[in-house]
Amino acid sequence: MPGWNEYVQITGNIPNWPYSVNYGKEHEINCDVLVLGGGIAGCWAAIGAARKGARAVIVEKSVTRTSGAGGSGVDHWHAAVTNPACKISPEEFALAVIEDNHGYRCGISQYITCRESYDCLLELEEMGVKIRDSEDEFKGAEFRDEATKLLFAYDYTAKYCIRVWGSNTKPSLYRECRRLGVQIFDHIMVTSLLNEDGQPGRKVIGATGLHTRTGEFYVFRGKATILCMFLPQRQWIFSTELKGLCTTHRPPNSSGDGHAMAWKAGALFTAVERSRQGTGGPYGYPQYGVGNTWNTWYACTMVDATGKEIPWIDRDGKILKTVSERYRPAPGQKFFLSDMAREYKYRGPTLQPDWRERARKGEYVLPIYADIPSLPPLERKALWGLMIAQEARTLIPIYWTYNQAGFDPDKDMLQYYDGSWMGMGPPQWRDYADGGGLVVDWDLRTSLEGLYAAGGQIFASGDHAYAACTGRYAGRKAAEYAAGVSISELNRRQIEAEKARIYAPVRRKNGMDWKELNAGVCRIMQDYCSELKNEELLNLGLKWLAELEEGEMKTAYARNPHELGRMMEVFNIATVARMIFEGCRARKATNPYLGFIRTDYPQVDPPEWRKWITIRLDGNEVKTGDMPLDYYGDLSKNYAEHAPK
């Protein structure tokens, strides 16, 4: 079992750092399309660019073969509205999602996803990912389309979400990247973007990187650059004591690196004021690993301790008598939006929402269980045998580990806990959600020339299929752009300033470690940028943040390249904290669709504030602005004009 402690106890030696360390040693890499972040969006971006003949490079902080929110799998593929069995159009679906969010969605990336989601899935099938029931394991199931052998989730009538065998998605994408000649640099954390003439706000011409095993320094020069990193995860909650770093829904090394570097490079952001009620974070359970009714578990039967069933109801509160009805739109409703719809128009069936209040009055007896054995056999097989085996962080953590411990879905009812696997946290614990990011145009280009964005970098972003579609699209557009420009000269001053910044923590002999600093930034967010906001709180938060940046962060201390990488993450978390504070100050109205309450501006989404609030850094000054919610214009017309050829 050699943990570090056992090793030291048994051998009497402290192990040496296994990689040779050479802080500051420089490498320079040139390419046409530079992809920063090798997750789902990044791999698809590189594939899209390479197929257009571009020399593409991926730079990944972790391991491209396994990294990212989709690194360990995907079990249901959203927005596949162009599949032959689907009953709704891309326009209908995109507009429904936008309407359900009261306009607070990015129409561009939403529509690209609706148009290209199924195409991406077919390409994945060619790469070796299983997407249909070719062995007829589910023959006769009502969620199966007999002609295509596709299996559907959620709405069995509209058929827009496909159940897939996605646990090998990332290795398949990785192989395709390699086959296409994409150069991959793993274990390199990108630390900054490089601008033309070293001037933030100018064209982006490359990036710098830190190798988190050797400490060596990398300079990447690209004709076009695509930011493909994920949404900030350790912004409000940080603790490793109870369950390591699996305290966030998405990968905990997603520390807002892309957000921070694009901010410092002068790019335009929007919606960064968005957040949502936090979860239990450190107090949750393994992801998807408790009995529940959401997401992968939709629409499992739940029973109380006496075996009494908690009913499923339709959007009008009518009790649904069969399991089958949980997967169907209400009478007169064409389709429902998975299990996440806000609006009556798009709302689907749900477990009786007030069951907990009823339990308080004695109607149900705790604990509650997911009654998997009672599900129709093919639903049970789809839930545990297919989806729990294929979803991210489930094949080994849940399917294999629970089964080896004796769990049998034919016999056993898995317990539900309050808050499900995410647990329940206090209102101070927020989550960045699918919130703010870079403003993009119909080329998925940001406000800076040469810089494109995909996946979680785009504001109001989505899930796995969304990352795939926007990555693939941005890759092709960036390649088209790169074909018409030449590589730019580097600015040495900008590079030297970055080297001085990133290596400072390893030049100190003592100081504060990255974990204490991370928790310190989170505390400022909890105390001053929480559920209830006002000008006084936000200004105080910025004051404390500035004090921390000038004080404790100047004592930041790292003992090896790994710790240095984590410290750079915390620096980015502090930068993103600043962005969030600025975004929150700029919106002077309460907005439930952005999870945003200003107690000093309590009016809810007044007409004059129904717009995107933008922020960008100009020198040392924060410039705020706005743009119309539907700045993207006519979806199908603009797509037809801009989609890569």
Binding site: M1, P2, G3, W4, N5, Y7, P15, N16, V63, R65, T66, G68, G71, S72, E125, E126, G128, K130, I131, S134, E135, W165, S167, N168, H187, T212, R213, T240, E241, L242, K243, G244, L245, C246, P251, N253, Y285, P286, V290, Y369, K381, A382, L386, Q390, R393, L395, I396, P397, Y399, T401, N403, Q404, A405, G406, F407, D412, M413, L414, Q415, R566
Partner: protein
């Protein structure tokens, strides 16, 4: 007697996100190279399981296990911390179990639909 007691700091918890079986593990370091958080380092002694250097950074995605050539033989297994071990009830008998029960029911070895390495075509 006094020298047998060393001054040691508290153990970082959770300390053992994975457990290696030294009799099966060949020290190939596939887990080291596939870990997204880079929590392992190779064992200085060749052929031995890696050292878990940063157990507190584990993301519990199980990719170290899935990418081990000998995972089904038990070379490495994911070890949910004690506070993470979920419980269940056997419907017919009313018995209660948990991950890590001292008297567990027999393991359920059924592979997922499509097998452990499902592929298209």
């Amino acid at each position: 007697m006094k020298d047998e007691f060393k001054a040691l700091p508290n153990i970082v918890t959770p300390a053992h996100p994975v457990i290696f079986d030294e009799a099966v593990c060949t020290g190939c370091n596939a887990c080291v190279e596939n870990c997204v958080m880079d929590i392992f380092i190779p064992n200085p002694e060749k052929g031995k399981p890696p050292i878990i250097l940063y157990p507190d950074e584990c993301y519990y995605d199980g990719l170290c296990v899935y990418n081990c050539p000998l995972w089904r033989q038990g070379a490495i297994r994911l070890n949910h911390p004690l506070n993470q071990r979920v419980r269940w009830k056997r419907k017919e008998t009313g018995e209660h179990f948990r991950i890590g029960s001292p008297n567990p029911p027999p393991p359920n070895n059924r592979p997922p639909v499509g097998g452990w390495q499902a592929k298209s075509g």
